[in-house]
Amino acid sequence: MSDRKSFQSPERLGKPLSMLCLFLAATAVSLSEPVSACAAAQKDGAKIYQASCAKCHGDQGQGTKKYARTLEGDLAVPELTDLIAKTMPEDSPGSLSREEAEAVARYIHDRFYSAVARERNRPARIELARLTVRQTRQVLADLVGTFRGTFKPPQERGLQAAYYSGRRMDRRALALERLDPQVDFDFGTAAPVAEKIEPHEFSIRWNGSVLATDTGEHEFVVRTEHACRLWVNDLKQPLIDAWVKSGNETEYRGSIYLLAGRCYPLRLEFSKSKQGVDDSQKQKEKPPSAPASIRLLWRKPGRVVEVIPQRHLVPAQGPEVFVCSTPFPPDDRSLGWERGTTVSKEWDDATTEAAIQTANYVADHLDELAGVRQVDRRPRPPSGDPAAISFDNKQPSAPNPERVQKLRDFARRFAERAFRRPLSSEWAALVDRQFEGEADPDLAVKRVVLLTLKSPRFWFREIGGENDGYDVAARLSFALWDSLPDAELLRAAGAGELHDPNHLRAQAERMIRDLRATAKLREFLLHWTRADHGLDVSKDPMRFPGFDAAVIADLRTSLELFLDDVLSSDKSDYRRFLLEERVWLNERLAKFYGLALPEGSSGFVPVPMDAEHRAGVLTHPYLMTSFAHAKESSPIHRGVFLARGILGVSLRPPAEAIAPLPADLHPTLTTRERVVLQTQPAQCMSCHGIINPLGFTLEHFDAVGRYRQEDNGKPVDASGSYRTRSGKLVEVRGARQLADFLVKSDEAHAAFIEQMFHHLIQQPVRAYGPETLAELQKSFAAGDFDIRRLAVEIAVRAAPRGHSELGKDKQGG
């Protein structure tokens, strides 16, 4: 009974998955290559068309001398079928059977008749594009960041810790310095450094940075019975200030928006002592020691609270990062990748807000950014002793005479960096004009920032450019970083080096090692594995006890660690994504999957898990869980992932949304048998004929990714097949055989390359010439399937090419 209910009210369990066809519809509006193998019926349509229609309408519906009108319109297939059946062919109307008419209708509709088909057939070109939302945030961070110097984080992970005896954190009281992998301590009533620190009164400071791998609101949590404060990014204003311990609270929270692929300065202070007046001298004996613990945790966007793992902590500090947190409408993803080829009122309003947010940030940090010597404006007491406050602060209020000049220089450089090329004399004059006759130079800077950040030269790529070295530099840095060229790249652009392919490649190879490139590739891999959908993967708790939010979050981490491991390895070999036999597990996951971790390990470690059956992302338990219903596996979701994501097959969305057959209506059937039953009608099989045999190969993995021999009491049948585009039928059984096929499949390579190209360049790969994809494929194979090398290859191929009609138009008029 409860089964049925879960399907009737999809919000209860597995919401986005229980209506499987909604999922298909949402992701399938595709304008790329029309269905190939899907269209057995279409082949007949094509044959009939070429035999009976092409002589008047032309082989592509382009028309002929006899009948010049192109064959295009907006009738749907049924109406078109009617029309054809009644009126065509002209010399003998009604001679086609209903089925034949429908086959022709479907064929021409898909090939050239419909608006979608026409759009698809339009020659691809590099379009003018604005910054995507992701690029906007990255660019603004770097634009402000260039005035603060660069930070190269060390390889080491953890935080610098300093332990002090007593309440004052000064050198004399320093008892111990060390690297703490993470902050997760329970000292009990003892001292952390037994011989040097009294247990009743001590303090600790942790310094370093936190490395974010997600973009969005991050919630930081500190748990302690004592006083604490935490700074993140802004080291002046604490994110959490519980330096006054008050009442029984032991948990403190604060949220901050962070961008992926960047390090943010972090400082945590802990004090097991009283603040305010120091009366320790008055006390005759030492007070008893209260229990003390401290933990530094966070919740990444959409995840659960966890102790911040060592891999996210860096024992060095870089400059503060400007984070633009203005909400933007999402970018167009109708082609399957984000691109900035549309504008809207909402988007324009968001650009205004972002410009204002940035201008205010610059105004608030102006002296620092412009390199003006700063004076501390505020009296600061050396300690919490209220009697020690001094108002004797007689610093001169006179303005720095050089300051205005420095602000002018800053304003020019700001515009120059924002536009990714040397400032034109017109713009330099425009910047200067903001200062003339303006009594308040700070306001002039603010105006320049607003002017710059509302300018089309900032928001649109390559506009006002001349397809010179600076345009090439910007294309390269947007491809690999989604951000501005750095100083070195601008230098190379200025020196004219970037027209030399060797120099260009050398720059790309330098840039691919940057954290921002890693972040961008990582995001691509999450997209490639369809892990960026944010699907609800919760399961029926009765069926899968213990499969809770924490396990799901750990599984996600497990996938990310796997992708990161491949990405950051020397060879960054694509084939490992398909062949890896190990799964990254922590204690909680090991427990859930009934495995033991190696002795002495902590955190996540890669362990063999049903090694003879696992095959990288194909069987990763997070993805197996994602592509499954609340109780049962979903061969259809898995098949769609394999067909579309891994093999690059285009699939049409189903004609209507169909809920899967509830398992309890067919108590004797396996999942495979139910899917076969439900998709047997001919109109389903045109696509499910591809989807199902792929998805069935993963049937050894249940809805939470566990390996199984039986489904519903019957042995699992994991046999499946795939017909390649060259027409060869490949039969496989189980995930390993599937992986062995895929790892050598040209189609899978091409799909991976094409998706990466779109993710990096945000322009259709076809616009770069028909040979581009094939050549990339060749070099991918020749380069041992190194994904970083592939990214470099894509970037250097795309960088010299600007939006295509720029030159033509100029010549034309």
Binding site: H226, V244, K274, Q275, P379, S390, L451, S455, P456, G464
Partner: protein, 438 residues
Amino acid sequence: MTQITSRREFIRTLGLGAASLPFILNLPSLGFANQTRRKQRLVIVFSPNGVVPMTFWPDEEGTEFTLKESLKPLEPFKNRMLILHGVCDKVRGDGDNHMRGIGCLLTGIELFPGNIQGGSHTPAGWASGISIDQEIKNFLQADPATRTRFGSLEFGVLVPERADTWTRMVYAGPNKPVSPIDDPYQMFRKLYGRTKDRAALASVLDEVQEDLKKVSQAVSAADRRLLEEHAGFVRQLEQELKADAEAKAGHALPELEPGIREENDNMPRISRMQMDLLVNSFVNDFARIATLQYTNSVGQAKMRWIGVNEGHHELSHEPFSNKEATDKLTRINRWFAEQIAYLAERLASTPEPGGEGTLLDNTLIVWTNELGEGNSHTLDNTPFVMVGNGLDFKMGRSLKLKRVPHNRLLMALAHGFGHRIERFGNPDYCGGGPLNLT
């Protein structure tokens, strides 16, 4: 008995249906003089370290009284003043008297145990309850008729940059201290930043459009469409900004003297800037409640501009037998009285926007302190000096009360706004209900 405050409400009370409304509303006999409820306001001003009783409190009780040296600057407002002697902060518990003095002043409830050690007593944390200004603010914000953009504004003057029990007076709830804004420029940004930002934006939009035109020439016809669409949005933005500016034409922005640093000797200037902003925010109806906190409990201002070179707190420890110290402390409190007088004068000379009379007719200023006296650290006879006619209290009086818990006064403030709470803070000190001051 509820008051009927509007014509519409009156008609509703009569039980007439909507159909008869247009007819009845046109009857001249039902035209109420005051269509909207008057905008009641409250300003609580804090100064630290107690007062010198001999030079502060009037000797007389009743309507005939003489202002002594400390309160002399308030002479022009004598008939709009209410001076309350005999109000005592009876809250005890953790924390020293300075800490409880400020932390329980507006909350009327104990401090939580904590890690802040004072000069004596046990350590303490934050107050365990909401402060009366926030309580009244929440009451006003809950009603669309009295809701304002900010509800309340928390001003400060030279509040040290550290958050502890001595520096916080306002609490949004237990363990929720609210930091006063003691930088006038920061307060300006909070009040008018958006307006300024949009003005700056408007000033550059012409250039943006010019530039757009130029770059559109250089792209292909197919790509120009995108830029034209974009240009349309920029034009739309310009029109919005223009409409904005026209709507705001009546509201002049206050001018702040630029570059005033937050340092001791600028205290008089910062004080005026903050009060000017406060009055302006009332004119624009940004808030109905404000607090203004001078330094902090144990504040150490050195009032060199009135010839006092010692720190305030240090001086306040001197016995009253020390003539020189007592004289200086009197001058210090007189300086604070001058600030209250300036504020009252600004309010009295500003007409009530859209109403009758002046802002002071609808505003009550309450000037208070964390201690009765600085040397004994007593919380008895905590000063409460009120100016203005915001709450229908009977003004022009000096009252000598009999050791009344200050919770009852806090309740009276709420009742003055029609917020009829039966207890506030620690209920032990609420017996007898709100002080009757009407």
